[in-house]
Amino acid sequence: MQEPVSGDTNVASPTLKASVVNPAANPRRMRRIIAEDPEWSLAIVPHLSELCLQHIVSNFEKNPVVDHLLPEHQRKVLDRISTGLPLTVTANLISDEGYWKRCCTERWAVCDVSRYGGSWKRMFFERHLENILKYFIPNTTDPNQVLEVIPLCKEYVRKLEIDQFLPPVKLDQNKEEDDMSDSGSDVEFDEFCMNHYDLGVLTAALSHLEELHLTYGVKDCGMNFEWSLFDFTYQDCYSLANAFKKCHTLKVFKLCRSKVDDEKTRVLIRNLLDHPCLVELDLSHNLIRDRGARAIGKLINRSKLEILNLCNNRIRAPGAQAIAHALAKNSTLTSLNLRINCIEDEGGQAIGHALLTNATLTSIHLGGNELSEPTATLFSQVLAQNTVLTSINLACNHIGLVSSFPA
C-alpha cells in the first residue's frame, strides 16, 4: 500500500531528466486526478499524521504503537504493517482480524475461517502451532521452538488438529543403510527413541484447548512405508494419558489411525474416566478388540460422552455386548458408530435390545458388521418402539432380501 507513495518519491528524481524528454511517459505525471488510487490526494505534501503513521509502520517492530492511536489511524496502521513481523510483537498486541487475515492468506492458500469459529487470529495460531508440531522431530528439533510459541498462542488455541507425528530420526544413517532391515533391529531402536513428542507440556499450557485430533503416524509416506513410522508406543500412550489429566477443558478427542490396541485403550480410558467435559470420542481406524470395547463401555456411563466413533476396529460380539449393556443404561450418548467391526448377529441383537430401553441415541451406524436377518427383525421391533432414533445405517450387511427398513 505504501509502495505507490514511496514509489512516487523514488520515481521523482529519475524523471527530472526524463520529463524534459517525454513528459507523457509517466501517465501519472500527466494526470491531475488519479481516480483509481484510493490513497491519492490533491495535497502535494502529505499530512504530518500520514508521515507519522508511515513512521510508526516502518518502525513497528521496535516500537509497536497501536492502542494510543485514533481509530482511523489505527485502521491505517493495521492495514499497512507487514505480516512478517515477529509473533512476539504482534501476538498479544494486535487483535485486529484484518491483520490476521492477511497473515493467514499470505501463508496458506486455503483458508476456511468457518472451521475456526470465524476468527482469523485463532486460525493463524492454531495452524501455526499445528505446523510446528507436525514437523517436530523428537531429539532433533529444539523443544524451545514449541515452548516459545506457547505463551504467544495459548490464549487463542482451542483446537489442535495434528494429523502426523514424526518419529525420531536419530539413526537415520543406519536406517538409510538398511531400509529393509529386519524387524528385530527395529525393536531394539524402539526401546530407546521411538517415542513421539510429549503433549503434556502443551496441553497444560493451553488453557482453552477444547478439541484434540491426533494421528500417530506419518502422512504421505507413499512407497516409503515402514511400520516403524506408525508406531504408537506405550510411552506415547502414557504421556498422552497424563496430558489428558492436565487438560480439563477438552471436549473432543480424536485418535485415529494410530494402532491403538486394547491395552493402550484401557490406559487412555482409565485417564478419561469422569472427565468433566469430554463430549466426543473418536477412536476410529484402530485395533481395539473386545477388552478395549469393554473399557469404552465403562467410559460411556462414567462421562458425558455424546458422540462415540469406533469405526474400523476389531470389536466382536462380546465387545458389542459390553457396549450395548452400557448403552441400555445410558442417557447421554446420541451417536454411536461401529462401522466395519465384526459384532455379528449376537452383538447386533444385544445393541437392538439396548435400544429398546435407551431413549437418547439418535443415530447409529452398524455398517459392515456381518449382521443378518435376526438382527434386522429385532431392529424392526426397535423402530416400532423407539421414538428417538432418527438414523440407522446398516450398509454392507447380509440382512436378506425382505427388508422392513426405511431407506
Binding site: G222, M223, F225, N312, R339, I340, C342, G367, G368, E370, A395, C396
Partner: protein, 798 residues
Amino acid sequence: DPDAKKAEAEELSRSHKQIEESRQRLAKLLNDGTQLLTNIQVAADARETQRRAEEDELKRQRLEKLENESKTNQDKFEEITSKWGSAKGKTIPQDLWDVLNQQQQQCAMLIEEKNKLISELQQELKSKDDQYVKDLKKQSDDIHLLLERMEEQIRNLMKTYRRELTQIEKAFELERRELLSSNKKKWEQAMQAHNTQELENLITRMQKVEEYEKQLNQLRVQDAEEYTTIKNQLENDVQILEQQLQQMKAIYQLNQEKLEYNFQVLKKRDEENTIIKSQQKRKLNRLHDVLNNLRTKLAKQIKQFQEENQNLTADYKRIVEQYKDLQRTMRHFAAIDAQTFLEIWLMNEEEAKGLMWKALEADRVLHTQQLGLPWVEPDYWFLDNVGPIVHRKAIKSASKLAQEVMALTGETREAREAGEAVRPPRHIMVKSVKHILELLCDESGFLIESKLLGLLQPLEKHERSLMRLDKIFAALEIDNEDDVYTLVDFFLKFKAHIHGLAADGALRGWNSLAVCVAAGQREERTAEEGPQELAGVAAKDDEGSAALKEAGTAHRSSAVSLSSVLFHPDDVLKALKAFVRDFQKPRDKRPQVKKVMDERDNSKDSEYWEALAHVIPEPKLKVWDALEEALEKYYDVLSQRAKLLTDLDGLQQQNTELHMLLHQYLTSKVSGDLEPRWDTGPGPGRRRPTTAHCYGCQRPCGSEQGGGEAGYPGPAAGKQKRWFLGCGRWSRLVLGAAARAYPCILCQPRWRDARGMGEGPGGALKASGGVRSGVDPADTSPGGEVTVCAERGHRGDS
C-alpha cells in the same frame, strides 16, 4: 375483487408450486448424489470387510500350514536328534560318516523346507506389497473417482440449481407479467372510465360556463341600465341635497347666533343658579335638621302608636270576648225573654181568657138562665189560641195523616171533613197521596215484621192497612206530614221520570232527578213555613234563588199533570230505594234548619188582644144593659123576697138547730142523707163524669157544647192532648205523654193559692214554671193527694 384475489392466490400458488417442485427435484438430486458418493464408501467398506474375511481365512490357512509344517519338521527334527544318539554309538567311521551324511542331508532337507516356507511367505509378502501398491492405486483411483463424482455432483447441482432458479424466475416472471397485464388492463379500463367521466364533466362545465356567461351579459346590461337610472336619480338627489345644504348652512348660521345668545343667557343663569344652589344648600341643611327631628318624632310616635295599637288590640279582643259573652247572654236572655214572654203571654192569655170565658159564661148564663135563649158559643179563631201567635200550623204525624187519608174511602161526609183536615201542598192531590199510600201498604210488606202481620190478620182491612202504614213509616223513618208529602212527591216525580225517560237510559237521569226532587222538596218546605216567614227565609236562604224556584214550579206543574197517571206497583220498590238513599241526608239536616231563630211577629198581637177584649159584641152589651135594667128590677123584687127569705132563714136556722138537736139526740143514728150528691147538682145537661175531674172545681170533664162538632181531637193518644175539664173549658198540656188532669183556668188561681199555702212561699211562681217544664208540683204528688177544694160555693153558684 374476490375474483382478482383468487386469481392472485392461484398465481402465487403456481409460483409456490414451482418452488416446491424445484425443491423436491433438487432434494432428490442431492440425495442421489450423496448416494452416489456414499456408494463408494460403502463399496470400500464392503471390500474391506471382504478383504478382512479373506485375510482371516488366509491367516487361518497360513497358521494351519505353519503348524503342520512345524509339526512335520519337529518330527523330522526329532528323528534327526534321535539319530544323533545312534550316530554316537556308531564306532565305525564309515557308518558314522554315512549317518552324518544322512543327518546332514536330512538337516539340509529341513532347512530347505524351511527356506521354501520362508520364500513362500516372502512371496506372499511381496504379493501383499503388490496388493498394497494396488490398494494404494485403487485408493487413489477411488479418491479420484470420489473427487470426480463430487465435482460432477457439484456441477450437476449447480446446473440444476441454476435451471431451477431460472424456472422459478420464469414462473415468477410469468406471474408478474400476468399480474401486470391484468393490472394494466384494469388501469386502462379505469382510465377510460375516468376519461369519459372527465369528458362529460368538461362538456357539462362548458355548458354551464356558457349559461353563466349569458347570465352575466344579461346581468351586465341590466346593471348598466340600473346604473344610469340610479346615477340620474343620485345626481338629482345631489342637487337637492346641495340646496338643502345651503339651507342648512343658513339655518346653522342662525342657530349659531341663537345659541351664542342662549349661551350667554345660560351663563348668566348658571351664575344665578350657583347662587341659588348655595342658598338651597343651606336650606337643605336646615331642612335636613328639621327632617331628622321629625324622624325622631315619627319614630317616637310610631312607637307610641304601636303601643296604643297593642293596647287597642287587646281592648278589641277583650271587647270581642265581651261582645261574645254579651251575645251569649243576649241569646240566653232572649231565650229567657222568649220564655218569660211565653209565660207572661200565657198568663195574660189565661187571665184574659179567664175573663173572656167569664164574660162568655156570664153571657151564656145570661142567655140561658136569664133570657132563656139558646146560647150559641161564639166561634172565633183566637179562642183556640194559646200562647203567642207563632206556630199556627201544627205538624201532623204521618200516621195520623195516613189515617186521615185512608179515611177518605169512608163516608162522603167524613171524607169532606177529612179533606178539610188534610191540607196537602198545592200541587199534590189527596187522591194521589191515597193511591200511593195504598201502594206502599200493599207493596212494602217486607218492612213489617212477620209477627205483626200475623197479629194484624184478624183486624179489619182499613185498620190493618193503617197499622201496616204506621210500621212502614217507622221503618222508613217518616215521622210527620211533611215527610209523607215528600215521599209522595218523590214517587210522583219518579214516575214522571220513568215515563219521561223511558226511551233513554233511566239510570243516567237519576242523580239529576234526585237533585230536582230535593230542590222541590226544599221549595215546598219553605212554602209551608207560612206566608209571614216565607219572605225572610227565602231571602236568607242561599239556595232559595229564583232559578230554583222556577225549577220547583216547573216540577210542580209536571207533577200535577202526571198525578192522574197510575203508579205501577212494580216501580214502588225502586222508588223506595231511591228515596231512602236520597233523603237520608236532608232529613238529618232538618234540626239545624229549624234552629234558626225567627223573630217574632207581633203585628197581630194587638188585634188578638183587641179581639179578646171584644169577645162580647156590642149588640150583646146592649142586651146586657137592657138585661141589667130588667135584672135590677128583678133584683128589687128579689131583695124583697130576700127579706122574706131572711125571715125564712131564721126560721130554717131554727129548724136546723132543732134538727141538730134532734140529731144529737139521736146520736146513735147516723145517716148518709146529709152527704152531698153529685147527681143532685144543678144544670140541665150535666152528666156524671166518668173519666176525669177538674181538680179545682171537681167538675167532670167533657161538655156537650164541644163534643165532636168542633172537630177537636178527642182524648186520643198523641203529643198534644186537649182536655175538657169540669168548668167547661179546655186546657192544653204542652209536654208530657201521660194523661194528666190539670186545673181548668178558672179555678187555677184558687187552686194555686191553696197549693201555695200548703207548699210555702214561692209556690205560685213554681206553678207558672210547672207549665213550662212539665214538672208541676202536681205531677210529683199523686193525683189523689189533691182532692177536693172547698169550692162548693162555686158549684152552688152555677
